[in-house]
């Protein structure tokens, strides 16, 4: 309610994107982004998909320097 009350004062021309229009983008690319983050940050540490250590070893330094738990 408050944003509708405020909008006409100075931001009458502020654009918004309808959430209905945004939802499919957020769902699909949000999940895709989280999947990428999982493979870089945590895969083959606590959980391994696929098994092995190649992904872990390859992104090892990035994992340490970006603050993710690693060993």
């Amino acid at each position: 309610m408050s944003q509708h009350a405020v909008a006409p004062v100075a931001g009458a021309d502020l654009p918004t994107i309808p959430l209905r229009e945004l939802a499919p983008w957020a769902l699909f690319f949000g999940l895709l982004g989280l999947l990428v983050l999982f493979f870089i940050s945590a895969d083959q540490g606590a959980v391994s998909i696929p098994s092995g250590t190649l992904i872990h070893e390859w992104v090892h330094d990035g994992r340490h320097l970006l603050g993710y738990p690693c060993h």
Partner: protein
């Protein structure tokens, strides 16, 4: 101003952030990673090379030269692009919904809150550890508590931001924003006390640990800083271009 326009700009800003973060991480962070690994190999601590565990002298799966260059670049680029896409879509969702903030201002605020909630606050509770600190036996627990704390931080930030926007009309911007920040801090301080402490530092040298953690924080700040600055700049340009088109249309219609 469409979801697609924000996504594309987020991915582009994230790509740039990934490249810059690689350069910073390589020049500031890698010397500290190297120092930690040198300490590890000099001491009789747990072996870091997983292939060499059990006393075998096998070659590691990925060489140090690859880990510190192409491997690091892979990590920073992928994280940069993924974060960029997500932050771009969040900026699209907040567009025109954060009081009177313009598209550029709301985008900048989203990335600032993102840095604090996703990177800075989790870092304060579970700081980055160099190679040689952190047991392979506890990686499951450490991963679980880190991501749980990070998820709680993000949820708390989203909830208080939403509450601030909703309560702004009743209490005014000042009280709503101060109350939201105080509520977020209260939740995270209490959670920080309740969440288990991870301390596997042992007799690892304090100076090397601090230099590594400082480098890690600089790396994270670079990632979010470049992402925020680049995305904000792109959104400002997008908005200006759309306004110019709208004004031209209005002018044409008035003739």
């Amino acid at each position: 101003m469409s979801p697609r326009a924000f996504l594309v700009r987020g991915l582009l800003a994230g790509l740039l952030a990934g490249v810059v973060t690689f350069l910073v991480a390589y020049s500031v962070g890698e010397p500290q990673v190297g120092a930690a690994i040198a300490l590890e190999e000099a001491g009789d601590g747990h072996s870091h090379s997983h292939a060499a565990e059990g006393g075998e002298e096998e070659a590691p799966e990925v060489s140090r030269a690859n880990q510190s260059t192409w491997g690091l670049l892979t990590g920073t680029l992928a994280v940069g692009v993924a974060l960029g896409g997500i932050v771009g879509l969040v900026a699209a969702a907040t567009l025109g919904r954060l009081g009177r903030l313009t598209p550029g201002q709301s985008t900048a605020l989203v990335t600032l809150i993102g840095f604090v909630a996703v990177a800075l606050v989790p870092f304060l509770k579970y700081p980055a550890t160099p190679p040689a600190v952190g047991s392979g036996d506890t990686i499951g627990v450490r991963t679980a508590v880190y991501f749980a704390f990070q998820a709680l931080s993000v949820v708390a930030a989203v909830v208080v931001a939403y509450a601030a926007v909703r309560l702004r009309g009743r209490f005014g911007t000042y009280l709503a924003v101060v109350g939201a920040i105080a509520a977020y801090l209260a939740v995270m301080v209490v959670a920080g006390e309740l969440f288990p402490t991870v301390n596997e530092v042992g007799d690892f040298p304090a100076d090397t640990l601090w230099f590594f953690r400082r480098a890690s924080l600089i790396t994270l700040a670079t990632m979010w800083g470049v992402l925020g600055v680049a995305l904000t700049g792109l959104v400002i340009r997008l908005y200006a271009a759309e306004r110019a088109v709208a004004e031209r249309k209005a002018l044409a219609a008035s003739l």
